[in-house]
Symmetry: C2
Subunit: 301 residues, 2 copies
């Protein structure tokens, strides 16, 4: 299972009860946080995100609407008694800011904050369940996108067949990952007889703030779901280009070229009160477009 | 007129829909911001605070729940096209953090951010209407309180008498500040004949995070309203002392010794869901105690 929960969908200035960028990626049992605008920890309270389950945080770039909420989150994690390691991935200067802020507060985190400075495109972290890689996007300052891939989704347990074979429900989680079951009598139940093959691994790309550039489509080619910014409606293409941002039509074109299944759009300018026009414009080019509405979870198809 | 509007009343971690510390002081036509926890700009949107009217911001200390929202506010002010100077008062290292954050974002503010590092107790800023001074409080790291005083409150215009004397309403604001009116015929109407004397100047002290110390009462002696932190209820006095914070009873004792008219309490620990016990305990010692509830404005008596 791969899903994206939107905690913030606005650009720059909080407005109309929309918050700066933050997304939680759920990949089977793992939670990942991508970007962390001001107020993200409050949004996590509101939408019941368990921060203790987050062990990896990814920051795309050092414009404030993408990371001003991070120092509050990592100090709160400390105050709440976190002990397990926290891995942070972002542009190299990010850690200088936190080091200074922790120093002036005379604060020591009770857990290890392991910082991984972004430098080259490629795989950042991989285990037997997931693989996360980064790629450069095209913004006014150094800016990164991230791709989340299931490496090996769980197999589907057929509970009736499993029960008939005498396998207890407590073993189902191990069945999902391909184990055989051995009864007390030493009989081995082959996994394939009580499970169905895993679905195709899913993938999600978060492309962060970027000017329109078809090269980006190559970097995210074939992912199941793409998040692409649409700061402006199509009539403001000139302004979008000048500010290194995109319009609805530009984002939808990238989705088309990249051949993704679904497109999620967000990072809406604070000048817009209503968002329906964003959806309408993007769907003209790429019908499977969805607005990144705060509080909503999108299941990658 | 001197009033305090509460934007945040919680300590450390946002909880139960309470936000970290921030207060707006209204002194006649001026707005001042004291402390600026994460999410303060969102709270300003919610409670309709016009940030363009804020020209002076005071930061008590460099624990995150008192300033993590400031970088977002000052960059938003820039994005909203602010041009007038902004004066910022706080511990010296505060500006190092902002300089670094603006530099990595390749951002230049379109207005002057004038930083005044706090170093000695005494008057920080004074004009013919107000005087703001700072004093040290007793916390784990360098921490400051602030006193806001009306220097010269406006006189009270008697609109009937003024109208009978032929003074147009457009001149009333100048009457408040003591001017005489001269008619087109050259007759001078003496200010005292159409106004009443100004009330006694009001004062408000914000004492920030502190351990219990009766010395603090001397520093705020005789102010009309005192804000004092009450992180804990009285049964946790030992914990309060250990963490350089105060209980209800300790705050109320300071108010008694200082001889203030009213006490405002806040900075409630995230462990408390309900706040009524804070009010009850403090009022046993100092009856004129009020809870600093978010969104409420308190008129200094």
């Amino acid at each position: 299972m791969l899903a994206v929960t939107i905690l913030g969908n606005n650009s720059a200035i909080p407005a109309f009860d929309r918050h700066p960028t933050a997304q939680v990626i759920t990949l089977d049992d793992h939670l990942f946080l991508v970007d962390c605008g001001e107020g993200t920890q409050t949004q996590m309270n509101k939408y019941k995100i368990r921060r203790s389950r987050i062990n990896h945080i990814f920051i795309s770039h050092l414009h404030g609407d993408h990371y001003f909420g991070l120092i509050g989150l990592i100090t709160s994690m400390g105050l709440l008694g976190r002990h397990q390691d926290l891995n942070l991935y972002g542009p190299p200067r990010l850690i200088d800011i936190f080091d200074l802020q922790l120093k002036v507060a005379d604060t020591q985190l009770p857990y290890n904050l392991i910082f991984h400075p972004l430098g080259e495109e490629g795989v950042l972290v991989k285990d037997n369940r997931f693989e996360i890689s980064c790629f450069k996007v095209f913004h006014r300052i150094e800016c990164w996108g991230f791709i989340f891939r299931q490496v090996r989704p769980p197999r589907r347990v057929n509970p009736e067949k499993a029960k008939i074979s005498g396998i207890p429900a407590s073993f189902f989680d191990r069945l999902k990952w391909g184990e055989n079951y051995e009864t007390q009598q030493g009989i081995v139940i082959q996994n394939e007889t009580v499970t169905e093959p895993a679905p195709k691994p899913k993938s999600y790309a978060y492309s962060a703030d970027t000017i329109y550039n078809p090269e980006l489509a190559l970097k995210v080619k074939g992912v199941d779901m793409l998040y692409h910014e649409t700061t402006y409606l199509k009539d403001l293409e000139e302004r979008a280009n000048k500010r290194y941002h995109c319009t609805t039509v530009q984002a939808a074109s990238i989705a088309n070229i990249a051949g993704v299944k679904q497109l999620l759009i967000g990072h809406f300018s604070s000048k817009y009160d209503r968002l329906d026009e964003f959806e309408r414009e993007a769907r003209e080019i790429f019908p499977e477009t969805y607005l990144a509405i705060e509080g909503v979870s999108f299941l990658v198809p």
